[in-house]
């Protein structure tokens, strides 16, 4: 844990366990020069207890992120002589790699966030308070020099980009290039909504990330990556799944929303929220070697003008089921960023058209879409929800169902169900009659993501059986409702 001290710092601070294969120690010392000036001593002043509280939060977050065993940190305040230790960080961990990373992260974050100030005393008798939270000293104008040269951009266009707020929902195959190009173009505020952690199977298309980051939260990784690319912008992390309950509040904070998700549920949720709040929404989806791009402008045609009812999850394959090459979402995500940037610069955009792109033949088909007066979202119609899809707000709501886990045997071992199912009937061998015989009342099917159960519930519905439901989101919904404990 963290302590502020006034006496010289002495190590060690931690007592490593027998399983600690690595201990990394960092000492920050008083150096005799800074930016060309000769320093004779330093003075540190801290705002406690906020400093201690903030530093402990940093340590908690780093412990969790790098899964290291112990972290301790001490910072000296008062007057320090040359060579004296100002800060000492110790990290114990099973392996050295995480220990180095965690140690570096603790020092970086403390220098950035904790209210501790440093005054340098120079050899010439002068002294100066330094801003520890040093803003990047690079030239911001130089960063954008090649694009401000364009007559359509210039300083004025760059200012428009800086003033813009863009929310990217999904930091995956589409979100990776979209986030990189939005950040590089200098979009002033970028939000990243992404709840998942990085998996190895993401990396062939999700070029924001690195292999060594597998297992870490994608919103955090994405935010760090684009902030490193462009330190002149603000990045907001929204590390939670989008739901009916939070979509409005989130979308409200932004001017433009990019749908970089891979499921119909979120796409329709975003469509309905953005139409209601008059936000521009830029959709993209991919299927194997082709993609669709569609921009919904305020008062223009929307997704439900095309598809009034949300298609069932799993009715067409997603990337996990039918496969995809990385450059396909790469091209489509880049086009989403292009549409957002063009819109802010006042260039032509593809509003009111559905763009179909085939990357095998490199064919681009542009289809005009008209506003549907009977559209359930932007017209006079009513939204016809998938009646069999259940979106519970609490676990209590599941008590009215007989819960059937339809996953296969090997899945049960790796991911046990967070609640007790009434019956386990693996999809590969179960018959419709067996499912219906579970209960004379309502039956709720559960799988990993809600896709297989959506297909099954839809099939029951089409066969006229109206008491079989699918848990939207599957296991992740159960985990969310259960909370951290």
């Amino acid at each position: 844990m963290f302590r502020l001290v006034t006496e010289p710092i002495q190590g060690p601070l931690i007592d490593p366990e027998e399983s600690s294969g690595a201990v990394v120690v960092f000492e920050g010392r008083v150096r005799n020069t800074n930016e060309g000036r000769e320093v004779i001593r330093l003075e540190y002043e801290a705002f406690d207890p906020l400093a201690t509280q903030e530093a402990n939060q940093i340590i908690e977050a780093v412990l969790k992120r790098y899964k290291v065993q112990q972290i301790a940190c001490v910072h000296l305040v008062g007057s320090l002589e040359l060579g004296e230790v100002a800060i000492r960080v110790e990290v114990a961990s099973g392996h050295r790699k995480e220990a180095f990373k965690a140690c570096s992260a603790v020092v970086d974050e403390i220098k950035k966030r904790v209210p501790i100030w440093k005054k340098e005393h120079y050899v010439d008798g002068e002294s100066e308070w330094l801003n520890i939270q040093a803003p990047p000293t690079d030239d911001e104008d130089a960063f954008y020099a090649r694009q401000t040269r364009l007559p359509e951009v210039g300083a004025e266009g760059q200012a428009k980009l800086k003033a813009a707020n863009v929310l990217v929902v999904g930091a995956g195959g589409l979100g990776s290039p979209a986030l990189l190009y939005l950040a590089a173009a200098g979009i002033g505020t970028i939000g990243i909504c992404e709840a998942e952690t990085l998996e190895a199977s993401n990396l062939h298309r999700q070029i924001l990330f690195a292999h060594e980051e597998v297992g870490q939260p994608k919103s955090l990784l994405a935010s760090e990556r684009i902030q490193k690319l462009n330190p002149f912008i603000t990045v907001n992390e929204h590390p939670f799944p989008l739901t009916r309950g939070n979509v409005g509040e989130l979308v409200q904070q932004y001017d433009i929303v990019l749908d970089c998700t891979d499921n119909f549920e979120t796409k329709f949720l975003l469509n309905d929220a953005c139409v209601g709040l008059n936000k521009t929404l830029i959709f993209a989806s991919v299927y194997q070697y082709e993609g669709q791009l569609f921009v919904v402008e305020p008062h223009g045609p929307c997704l439900r003008c095309l598809w009034p009812t949300q298609p069932a999850a799993g009715c067409v394959g997603n990337c996990a089921e039918v496969g995809v090459l990385g450059f396909v979402p790469g091209v489509l995500g880049t086009l989403q960023a292009a549409e957002a940037v063009k819109r802010m610069l006042g260039l032509n955009t593809v509003a009111s058209s559905l763009i179909l792109i085939d990357l095998v033949d490199l064919n681009i088909t542009r289809i005009s879409v008209a506003k549907d007066p009977a559209c359930p979202t932007c017209g006079e119609g009513e939204v016809d929800e998938l009646w069999w899809e259940i979106h519970p707000d609490s676990l209590d709501q599941l008590s009215q169902f007989a819960v059937v886990d339809i996953r296969e045997e090997e899945e049960l071992e790796t991911e046990p169900l967070p609640i007790d199912a009434d019956v386990w009937l693996p999809m590969s061998s179960v018959t419709p009659e067996e499912i219906l015989s579970v209960s004379p009342g309502n039956i709720l099917l559960v799988c990993r993501s809600g896709m297989r159960t959506a297909r099954m519930a839809n099939a029951f519905s089409e066969a006229g059986e109206k008491r079989v439901y699918s848990l939207a989101g599957g296991l992740s919904t159960l985990r969310r409702l259960q909370g951290p404990n």
Partner: protein, 80 residues
Amino acid sequence: MKSLRIQYFAALREQRGLREETLETNASTAKELYDELAHHYKLTLPANLVKASINLQLKDLSTPIMDGDEVVFIPPVAGG
């Protein structure tokens, strides 16, 4: 008989096994044409999830089709 140019996308392209073709049909609307193709090539996507564009304009499936029309069948896609 009318002759039509037809393009398929995503799951439909896969099930049909090709990207485009020219064919002769007696179907009078886009819906009749889709039903005919669905029956013949065992396309599994229900007609209510399929969009048809006729000569690059998105049309209702009940729209009549004419000799020489270019018809594009588009399913919804969610991957990302």
